[in-house]
Chain length 304, copies 4
Amino acid sequence: MKFEYLIGDIYQKINDIEDKGEIASYIPELLKVNPNNFGVHITTIHQVNFGVGNYNDKFSIQSISKVLALILAYRIVGDEIWSKVGVEPSGTAFNSLVQLEADKGIPRNPFLNAGAIVVSDILLSNLKNPKEDFIEFVRNISNNTTLQYSNKIAQSEKAVGYRNVALCNFIKSFGKIENEPSDVLDFYFDLCSLEMSCKELSELFLFLANNGLTVQNNKSILSESQSKRINALMQTCGFYDESGEFAFKVGLPGKSGVGGGIIAIHPDQYAIAVWSPKLNEKGNSYKGMKFLEEFTTRSESSIF
Amino acid sequence: MKFEYLIGDIYQKINDIEDKGEIASYIPELLKVNPNNFGVHITTIHQVNFGVGNYNDKFSIQSISKVLALILAYRIVGDEIWSKVGVEPSGTAFNSLVQLEADKGIPRNPFLNAGAIVVSDILLSNLKNPKEDFIEFVRNISNNTTLQYSNKIAQSEKAVGYRNVALCNFIKSFGKIENEPSDVLDFYFDLCSLEMSCKELSELFLFLANNGLTVQNNKSILSESQSKRINALMQTCGFYDESGEFAFKVGLPGKSGVGGGIIAIHPDQYAIAVWSPKLNEKGNSYKGMKFLEEFTTRSESSIF
Amino acid sequence: MKFEYLIGDIYQKINDIEDKGEIASYIPELLKVNPNNFGVHITTIHQVNFGVGNYNDKFSIQSISKVLALILAYRIVGDEIWSKVGVEPSGTAFNSLVQLEADKGIPRNPFLNAGAIVVSDILLSNLKNPKEDFIEFVRNISNNTTLQYSNKIAQSEKAVGYRNVALCNFIKSFGKIENEPSDVLDFYFDLCSLEMSCKELSELFLFLANNGLTVQNNKSILSESQSKRINALMQTCGFYDESGEFAFKVGLPGKSGVGGGIIAIHPDQYAIAVWSPKLNEKGNSYKGMKFLEEFTTRSESSIF
Amino acid sequence: MKFEYLIGDIYQKINDIEDKGEIASYIPELLKVNPNNFGVHITTIHQVNFGVGNYNDKFSIQSISKVLALILAYRIVGDEIWSKVGVEPSGTAFNSLVQLEADKGIPRNPFLNAGAIVVSDILLSNLKNPKEDFIEFVRNISNNTTLQYSNKIAQSEKAVGYRNVALCNFIKSFGKIENEPSDVLDFYFDLCSLEMSCKELSELFLFLANNGLTVQNNKSILSESQSKRINALMQTCGFYDESGEFAFKVGLPGKSGVGGGIIAIHPDQYAIAVWSPKLNEKGNSYKGMKFLEEFTTRSESSIF
């Protein structure tokens, strides 16, 4: 299959370029990772699996979890969720707090920190054992019982997450969060601490390339329409203020995390995960972005 | 072909619902149109053509012209264009002026008025007879020599376009426009005054569903990569602060105009144009949005 | 003395008008106050004391405390304080969070909540027993050992002060606060819970009309230059986004609190305190503003 | 009189310090002035006149004209003017356009460019021969028939005043300007082109220190209350985003111009004008600000 050759070839090329990114420094624990790690893994709906580099190493998926939290909340409360969080790109990172004020506590979209905090609040109100139920949900999708939170990462972020405390209390001040901010934040930091490898990520997210059904055993995680909508949201909002650039250059729905991971989906074809810890100035993996741009260009698999 | 039945059926349904929109009132001449006009036309890369309702009536395509202006400028100056205008969604209509100040005169994307004004300035600097050359370019793509500006519309907008005068002079004050603001605006208002029918629109834009090549005679308007990028831009920025909603509900790259027209593209399949003059509160055709949402849902042709 | 007659006369008049204000509802405990309370008290540097109405009743002085906190911090760290908090009016209440983001955690002035939180942090770092030392300082100025915090008010605000928690953590995220946000906020809420009567307020603040010296026993609280600067700050920033209006209509340096109190200073002449709990839409005492406008107009004692 | 000695002494000192300012470059004609000019002139209500340095040289008073335009409009339409322009400080230069959008075309105060443009529009609607009537009004106040506009300066600014064109058209787009923007701007640029010396300025503005009456012949220019209000406005809004700083350090109502002039008023005492063309980063005369700070400190004549 041509993907395998292509991925290997591009991996070599990108591996050799100078990495101009920087590891995220605001979560102390993340700084301990080896900055030279670089892994890629693709899983197709025809069950092709292929990886190169550190594709089996676990890393902190961080904001990629926001997609999973949104999916679980969407399953539980349905379209009602869109009264609490929007579906529009936010413009810039800079603006997120400004817009929260203008929009009276309704985050522009669920992939901003503010939006994911609101989603966490919804889960907290609707799950019996939020932390356990969420990991169970994720394990079920991927048929992988080894998936785990990292306590170290969660604690490290809790200790210094002042900006998120600010966001959560700000939303609470508008009456848009039901639970106590400290509980919401505890759960939010746990969510973000999930650890996975590129292989696990691409397997887990494959159902979004398959209209909401798992490929392995045909379980329905989302309806076809819901699945398409999650992809649309990742396309317009998945990379903060670099979302337009990602659509423009890569042309796939996707989501990045500050740990250096990126997941991208080609509807009806595949899910691909990339990991390289050093981030560009917009907070997305420097090499990850470069890899995916070259990959969709050479494979002509932008969805546009 | 199933599209024909579907389009006819949805047209009937949407035609009967109450139109909660309002005709744009800020361009006096636009108010003269019959608010009940409603037309749809699809053109596929396999040369299927099908229309219902007022699909042959000409209307003012307004901001849809911004895509054509961008394409011509992109052909002329290449990727250099992205140093003068960005590719990111702007968040909200409200923010456009704010962000222009924060970004020192570089518009967030070419589909904001500010961005299209900068594109107009680039064309003005690079075309011998800008007004003639532009219409010639558009006619060539669609092999349709009858396409015309509307002097009445252009004059009507020039007389009251204070906000655009403000935007243009604001950008000029940052040194980001080369020509005199009054010349740039004259050309900009001309561009926006183009008149077409749904049929003409869907035929004209079909090359964007065909990797940049015209279907009729295989002329290359844009490279494959450029064509995909224009589609990506329409996906993330084509509907002002309703762009996320359009991706979410319709799932096609597209562009709306304040005259009530919408063009949408399904890569490798078709271009579809809808026209209904009354606009929702975000400035996009009320019935047009409803039609396209139902159309992609029932035809399962969202690209996501 | 003409002030006595004037104050009595205006008091009657304002007492009779319809009070279009509303009691602040966001601190539950404040809602328990009698909304019809209305008191006025003047103290002149020639030791004239005169009050009408509820001038001896204690009320929650709230933001008026910010002036006292600033004065104590100014005494301790001197002009160094202005590297952590500005001296410019903020424009609007609405903007305070926006500008905090633009200004990277440096509040525009010490009378915004954000600014007073930064001042509280400075005091926390410089006082041995912050809560005790502060009340001691205030008692010393006014030779009044009965002044007290209200635990009920402080607790009531702590329970629901999400917006202030957001502000404090937001500033902390910029590294502009030294102590833990929860400690800073505890102290801040204590400061704001101070209770005084109009009589006590006008006696306490008289030193600002006397170039920084207490009138009773000539203690120097601030240097002459510092005293003038505090007055200048009250003039430009004392009434949130109604500061311009207050300068325009009343023409005295002053500071309001959400409990309905206002203190105003006429340099070289007097301090006057007004209290009426119902607030206008900008958060300042409805009757208090009306009283002072008429008072300076009829006594021709605007400083301008 | 002590002022004379003080002024001479401070003038020497400030004349010798390094001037860290820069001449305003955005109006080409202003660049032709000698950057080392430095003049001071005081006029007291007891008819003392004293000047040093280039106090008799004419310069472009620029924004200082905004005070005169406001006064004339205030005389004509009375308090109705405050429905079209506010009395609040704007926060920052940066924000002025932002706030204009938030406030739907109502400028925050009459000393912002936006506010002065609105005032110009009011004058245009209410004067028979605006340009002649205005200069006549100014000449009458000061009994000085030699006062003149500078055509060169006005033309120079008209040629490059894109930002002001933007502001004016932006306000017009909100329907808050009656006349055509080009007419309003022509008049506005004329107003700003007035030329005066320090001596003429301090004589002209003395009536604001005299409760609205000219000292020479007791003509009433404004009522006492109106006069105080103009002073209050100058105090809170006279120096853009350095207004708080000026109140804080100088402690007098005043107004600066981009030509390097400053006028300041001490109610019941004097008017003082300073001129030095090089501006600090906030757009106010570098040496002028330093001079006035030292002058009010040493003369203990801050109003606070």
